[in-house]
Amino acid sequence: MNLFLDALNFLFDPANLTGANGIVPRLVDHVWYTGLSMAVAIVIGIPLGLLVGHTGRGRNAVVALSSAARALPTLGLIFLIILYTGLGVGPLIVVLVILAVPPLLAGAYSGLEAVNRPTIDAARAIGMTEWQILLKVEIPLAMPLIFGGIRSATLQVIATATIAGYVGLTGLGRFLIEGLALRDYKLALAGAILVIALALCVDAILALAQRLVVPHGVARGLTRHPDESAAPTPRQHGRVSTAPSNP
């Protein structure tokens, strides 16, 4: 237990908070890289996933992509890309975006796919345009799975950004990597605690946001008929599909 005390001492030592390599700037960096990559990935992944889900075209490609993304070892991927592109924040952000897109795509696509067909049909029959169907019916009903994808992707990015500390991305991963390199376990543990705290906080915030965004009737519908929704429980796919990628 005194290992933890050592680590906590490090964390609460004001000397380690600020300064170029302090906790605060590295935390800010970590959050900034995560936010930036997620913003780019969402702009790419979600519309694409919605398109595939709405039209049904390209579903095989999406399925193949998300399975492949799961099987590929993230660590190898980062190192390989960095060897080709050279060190730098830019390439690392690109890697993070690449890793975040598949779960987003899969969430958006499977979210739309999971929407009850007769409901969409009825919406069309009463005279909604295709856009109205997408915006007022499909997206709200797909929200749980879309959000599952966002949460998976975000955790994935936070975790990968940690590893990317190894190849020079600043952020909380640096404490961990430096600690391992210097055989300073206290430092590594402190880094690990910071990363874990960040991941849990961000996920909790997203969970709250999900509550706000997912329409009431959807949540109700799902809790009322747990059997019926065995496959698409709000977090199940999102989460399960994350599993693999969380590095």
């Binding site: 190898g76 990597i177 391992l180 849990l200 065995a230 399960v240 693999p244």
Partner: protein, 226 residues
């Protein structure tokens, strides 16, 4: 390619390590998930607690978990146990949710009719619920298997031998081919495991081939989860 022939011994030894270390979490996850999954399916409170806990554990980045475990378990930082335990935790977190869903996917009618026919609770579980939950369990197991194989290589950052060694070594020597070979072998191991699981599933659950599950939701989601 030349590099591969020259270092075939190393690559095969690392592959063997990789297989050995990833089998344990998969098996542990499968065994542990059955009682917990049953509990979660049976009691709402258990479900809430187990799934929330699983969600929290699951959101911990792997490298951070690898590094934290020595302080909790009293192991040394280089011990394989850290990685095996961490991956088992992920496997359990995913499998318990999967198992809960698997058990709840078994039709109530089948369960009550087998009770009516005279199965005891225990024999009903093993002869009816467990086999019928099989397909959904298998889907989760396949996810766990692939992700365990791919996550294991992160362990090489804390010095645990696996195919991940090739990534670090290749990066340090600025030698992409070595990394590529590491990736290819990792994927081969993942595909091998997956194929074995699918074949075992067919062998043990012959009825799933006769009646392909046609719920569009499930089939659409299967590739995502599987």
């Amino acid at each position: 390619m030349l590099w591969l022939w020259d270092n075939l011994d190393l690559v095969l030894r690392l592959t063997a390590d990789h297989v050995r270390l990833s089998i344990i979490p998969i098996v542990v996850g499968f065994i542990v998930c059955i009682p917990f999954g049953w509990l979660a399916n049976r009691y709402t409170v258990a479900r809430t607690i187990l799934l929330t806990l699983g969600g929290v554990l699951f959101s911990i980045p792997s490298l951070a978990l690898f590094v934290t475990l020595p302080a909790l378990l009293g192991t040394r930082i280089l011990d394989e146990a850290n990685v095996v335990v961490a991956l088992s935790i992920y496997a359990i977190a995913v499998m318990v949710r999967g198992a809960a869903d698997a058990f709840s996917s078994v039709s109530r009618d089948v369960i009550s009719s087998s009770t009516a026919v005279g199965f005891s609770a225990v024999s009903r579980f093993w002869t009816v619920e467990f086999p019928l939950a099989g397909p959904v369990l298998l889907a989760s197991l396949r996810v766990v298997s692939v992700s365990t194989v791919s996550l294991l290589s992160v362990g090489s950052l804390i010095g645990v031998q696996s195919l991940g060694y090739l990534f670090i070594n290749g990066y340090q020597r600025d030698f992409p081919e070595e990394i590529l070979i590491g990736i290819v072998f990792t994927v081969i191991v993942a595909v091998l495991f997956d194929t074995i699981l699918v074949l075992v599933g067919r062998l043990l659950m012959p009825w799933t081939r006769a009646t392909p599950r046609r719920r569009s939701v499930t089939s659409a989601a299967a590739p995502v989860t599987a």
